[in-house]
Symmetry: C2
Subunit: 456 residues, 2 copies
Amino acid sequence: MSDRTPPPTTRHLLVRGCDVLRVPVTGECDVLPAQDIVVADGVIVDVRPTGADRPAERGAEVVDGRGLLALPGLVNAHTHSPMVLMRGAAEDVTVEGWFNDRVWPMESNLTAEDVRAGARLACAEMIRSGVTTFADHYFFPEEIAAAVAETGLRADLAPTYFSSGGRRALDATVAFAEAWHGGADGRVTVSLGPHAPYTVDDKDLRTLSDHARRLGVRMHIHAAEHLEQTESSLERRGITPVRVLHETGVLDAGALIAHGCGIVEEDLPLLGEYAGTTAVACCPKVYLKHALSPLTPVRELLAAGVTVAVGTDGAAGHNTLDVWEALRLVALTQKQAVRDATWMTVSDTLRLAVRGGARALGLQDRIGALEPGMRADIVLTDLSGPHCRPLHDPRAALVYSARASDVRTVVVDGRVLMRDGRLLTVDEPALLAEADARVARVLDTSHGKAVQHYDP
Amino acid sequence: MSDRTPPPTTRHLLVRGCDVLRVPVTGECDVLPAQDIVVADGVIVDVRPTGADRPAERGAEVVDGRGLLALPGLVNAHTHSPMVLMRGAAEDVTVEGWFNDRVWPMESNLTAEDVRAGARLACAEMIRSGVTTFADHYFFPEEIAAAVAETGLRADLAPTYFSSGGRRALDATVAFAEAWHGGADGRVTVSLGPHAPYTVDDKDLRTLSDHARRLGVRMHIHAAEHLEQTESSLERRGITPVRVLHETGVLDAGALIAHGCGIVEEDLPLLGEYAGTTAVACCPKVYLKHALSPLTPVRELLAAGVTVAVGTDGAAGHNTLDVWEALRLVALTQKQAVRDATWMTVSDTLRLAVRGGARALGLQDRIGALEPGMRADIVLTDLSGPHCRPLHDPRAALVYSARASDVRTVVVDGRVLMRDGRLLTVDEPALLAEADARVARVLDTSHGKAVQHYDP
């Protein structure tokens, strides 16, 4: 019989027999046991109890999901992926020392080839960790876009812009958006990326906001990274960084704000006005490491209707691009920050990491849930290791026990990027060797140059 | 030639060609490249640049350490290992709810066989994570001792004692110490384990302290777990929990204090008097999860000369027994707690996790460093994964990038317990199945009983 079945006209993928994590928009997550996820042309068309193939699905690529838990791909809502080249090269320093003595001098060494190598290494690490989408903010964005296109990940890419770069840099930023937004079969979207209100002047913020509205893209910007920045802004110009974003049209264009630990009470009504298109990426590992307090006011932001998502920031601070670490720390630090152990529950934490991330990138109609109509970004995790057992509650295991190394298989847009721990779109040894060969030059700061000086 | 060499009279192990992490008592850690670690009868006899065997070492068991970093086995300085059975079964609850509605009712279900199964599962998890020594505090300690003897780990075991248990329980505690201190070829030591000053009366604390001095063992006790406990003690009886430990002879006997987040300024001179034999185990994941603030005052304790070590606490709170997670959180939370990013450096953090742990258990002459004369507790880690690369600084990678899953080979007392990811002393599938079979009964709290009521 099957011989007579015509070959499928669509590209089918069938993930067989996995448990499926459901992350609703509100309320508790749950797990559907023993499901088949049916994918056609990159889109989930069915999630149903496991059973026989249907005729149209014969010939589909099959992934054996038995014994594994499928979850929506994790979203890294704020990173600087090529900074993996500087992993571990700026430890135990103040924020000022981190910028002025380490990172910004190192970044003045970067070439397009360095960024390409760093971005590809970052993609390999993220695929291995079950991160299927990332929001990047960096230099040489064409190289990052090429890495995303090649490795099969999904990303929103913001070219980092400083006003010191002048007109040419601003034009390049806009040209990148025009060239790449919707690229790589729709897996690449672009945001405009003014670095921060303290490195980009109001005129440029206005110009970029206008471009964003014209192009239908969003803004991705560091703002109110910590309370001292907010205080400094108030002192220097009488308004908070968030109000600067409002006055320059950044919020109106739709903004992904990185960090926001310095968001203060008077900012909340303003953010609330733009709640539908505003998000804040919380990256707690770097806040702790840089000894910052307070942290992102997640409870207040959610109460104001603002989207909150989970990020790692770059690996020069976070050391990994591991969203498992980041989401666990969001749960732990937020409970402590508001002195309420019953808050930021397991379900809420998982929701931030997938649906929150999707919304933060303006991709909520495409990703963030394993439901028919969504793009097929699927992570299969193995919770059978002793550190997860007995497995009373798989949701708790995901937040508090599981590790990136429990990720077995990763699918993005219906394409298998890692199968049973083997990367299919990356030549990992070659990539690691290339990264290693570049780092001595990248780390050399003897020249005394820097891309910027930090004095917010 | 080698045929004529007489068979070795001692049990030799040779770890070949590994890099070796040196953790000095003060100052920076460093890494010796390409070393051989020579072990005879469980003791490290040489650490030297890799090369040919010497005659006496021919016939030694060889572990290929090339490309791996050897570090002293991690010490989990405070846990309740059998609580892995309750992993993930008490999420998003207050401290009171955790004790009174979940954990203490569940613990009233425990049988000796449950504890045996839980302890063995915990040992498997710890071996996989590179934890070679743990300080345990729990019921049915004979079962835990048997698990330690069988799996080859090293442990200091404290039988949990509540005054509500009465004379019989107290006698059993002392009998356990007499039977097991120095057991399993010296790998098991015993501490006496009054639960806390709020569950054990002063008379019993005095009696146990006297026994500890007589037996030459230490005390392991929860005290000043958080600030509210200290405030409650001051209100109820006019002195802090630490002063209770002083007045009842606990500090004089030598104490490992679990948590100590509620240690206040007036306690420091008192702890300083006993600094040589006092330690505090810091388990930050559970403090964050239970929304506690302040955290263990690590800086003040170290300044007073008190030993600080890293623990996980039980998996009903910590979810894992992963000391990598715990040591990373010590670094991160301590930097934030004192608002100093330059403090709790990578070297200091590693020191707490190995030398601190060794001292906390009174084992500083046996473990905590890879040096001639020390027992051979060696963990070989693989830092070649993309999440650790480029590897600028292996010390930073250990604290901020590495994961338990990067542990490849584990040696305790010169015996290989895990080789290249394969457990040699544990039948893992059988053990997981047994644990799974027990949990429905352990989790059932419909009976309304509890081992204690929490009201400190």
